[in-house]
Amino acid sequence: MLSPAFLSQLRKLLPPHCVLNEREDLLPFESDGLAAYRNTPDVVVLPENEAQVAAILKLCHAEKIAVVARGAGTGLSAGALPVDGAVLLVLAKLNRIKAIDPLARTAVVEPGVRNLAISEAVAVHGLYYAPDPSSQIACSIGGNVAENSGGVHCLKYGLTVHNIQKLRAWTIAGELLEIGNESLDAPGYDLLALLTGSEGMLAVITEVTVKLLPRPERAQVVLAAFDDVAKAGAAVGNIIAAGVIPAGLEMMDRLAIQAAEAFVHAGYPLDCEALLLCEVDGVNEEVSADIFTVREVLTASGATEIRTADSEEQRLKFWAGRKAAFPAVGRLAPDYYCMDGTIPRGALPQVLKRISELSAEYGLAVANVFHAGDGNLHPLILFDANQPGELAKAEDFGGKILELCVEVGGTITGEHGVGLEKIKQMCTQFATPELTRFHDVKAAFDPDRLLNPGKAVPELHRCAEWGAMHVHGGQLSHPELPRF
């Protein structure tokens, strides 16, 4: 609980409508996009400018009150879950596009600007902002930076870290950090990379300069069906080995295909085990050459059916099924739990086989949606939260999938972040020395650990308590810690 004295100090910094602490006002902020995790915040502040952000941070620093930053609240790892006794700092009202420089191909935006709004605002110049997380209609750029968000075009166009060039951010002490500049690099350590994906643990961002790209002249998509997921997985590697870097390369398994088709009638073939959507974009001639290669490779890789979208309408229809995959799967069960591991693509058949075995063990169905180009797997575990114990079972199953991803040389999160959700699996992926260095990085910015406490990096003693142990090369990773 926050003291009345602190709340009254907070109120002095902001207009009355920017401070919420009535219960009904607080409820909308009790979770982010991962609704299974809920906690009512003690107080929500919605600053309207940078000076107010700085003032809030200074006050919280002086009073040693924790701060959880939140953007649009679309995150999927409970990274913006309110923390008891903390201020929830919502940056959604900082939503101005401050400048667009079409010739330099940059835009300067406040953190609350929605991802898609940037591309919409610069479309008139023939430009766009490349990272396109599926929540792009709602998610904000500040949150994208905090999570290093990706999307379906990462293999070719990179993640958020590859597409920003400057940040204004504030330390918890209320000190301004200007990181990066208007050229392509900056002196000193790459703090831009360090802050990107730091999940609100190091600083609070108040301005982002994003890089813009020219809109591709043409985009074309090929759909291919396979009677075996392993063949589809091999086809992905073969496309890349043939020298094509697709703009998007997506795979869906049988359950996902059927759910999507039933939902949006995209015209997908239903008698197959896996579906690949391969989109190439760029200049006209490049696209023609790539489509030719992709079709050849898909044929040689044993596709049972190959279709090339022959119009923009059909291209969008092919994508409609994939884009609706999550809500479509959502119709199959009362709840689903979306995982976010990344694996080396070559390990796909092995990983899918193991997931299907686990699915049988847990008695929970799984639909697999896969950013195949960059190895980012989104298994959707179907469950019913109203059945006692099913959520815990789904979470346990999900944890097993993530541990499997680490085992094959991958990672527990490709784009959703660790947040609170995957904090246990961090103990599987990282050993004590690395976790210690993560805490060191945190301490370099925020020695009192006031920013988003308890998220992203687990305390070492918690790893031992959870029994989630990093085993690498047969060596136990926390040998110095007591075990119970």
Partner: protein, 348 residues
Amino acid sequence: MLDAYIERIRAAHANGSPLIIHGGGSKSFYGGADEGEVLSSRKFTGIVDYQPKELVLTARAGTPLAEIEAQLAEQNQMLAFEPPHFGGGATLGGSIAAGLSGPRRPYAGAARDFVLGVRMIDGTGQPLRFGGQVIKNVAGYDVSRLMVGALGTLGFLTEVSLKVLPKPAAEATLQFEFDEATAIRTMNQWAGQPLPLSATSWHAGLLSVRLSGAETAVRAAQARLGGEVLKDADAFWLRLRDQATPFFDKRPLWRLAVRPTMGPLKLGDAQWIEWGGAVRWLASDLPAAALREAARSCGGHATLFRGNAPIDGAFTPLAPALLTLHRNLKQRFDPKGIFNHGRLVPDF
């Protein structure tokens, strides 16, 4: 071998004795002068893993770039950031520690954009592993990228995993007789259009533009842009990448990184423009403060890239808040300050 490095660094940490990290020595001119015993990665070589279908290569720090590039070329792949070799011997570790990129950088990305993971030994002798071998990975802070351009001040890199890309099927370089202002404007205008650009350069009244992609795409762009086709273009870009033309022999040689659209800087005629206008190489005797101020007012920073004598403070000094963070990070990764003292920041 790794154990020997760990031992050596532990001992240096215990005694507080400074070490200078060396790879191939091709970039020993770069950054501030440092003092200490040489810790060479040169013998720690070898490609550990290369999966062309995964677009990932992992190699030990001392592996020569030339060896890596030859291996990639066999599979028709490349390091898309075109790291400079500077006369030969450049190693993977040195390239990543220096964080320098070549002509393709503005169109394909920088060294830091292609780093997926590192293994390193910190200043206490603790071996560490960050990132991995997959393209999308947001677990934990991005310490791998923090090492890129840190000039070895945070740790001794032992192994690096990189994303690699297919080589373009075709390339062509076009040249145009343009004055400086026209060249800068043109580079930026073309970069905002769907054109297969992969490098740009302007020097002595000549704009050079490289196109890369499918044969048909390169030919179509060529027809659209006009200009004269440069013969022996590969050699031209290699010389620029490695600074192997007489222009780059001048001292002191400054690198001004600026907003790419910035018009002519009017800081003298001895100038070579790269990276779509974002980098201006300058042979100039002007005082450091004047050049740094000029770069700052153009949205960037100035580096004394090659000097006549050992350099004290090659890089633009950091703002106080950033300097504090640098000091804090250094303190955590190398508490006794044994690695490359003064190379990146004069004080540590």
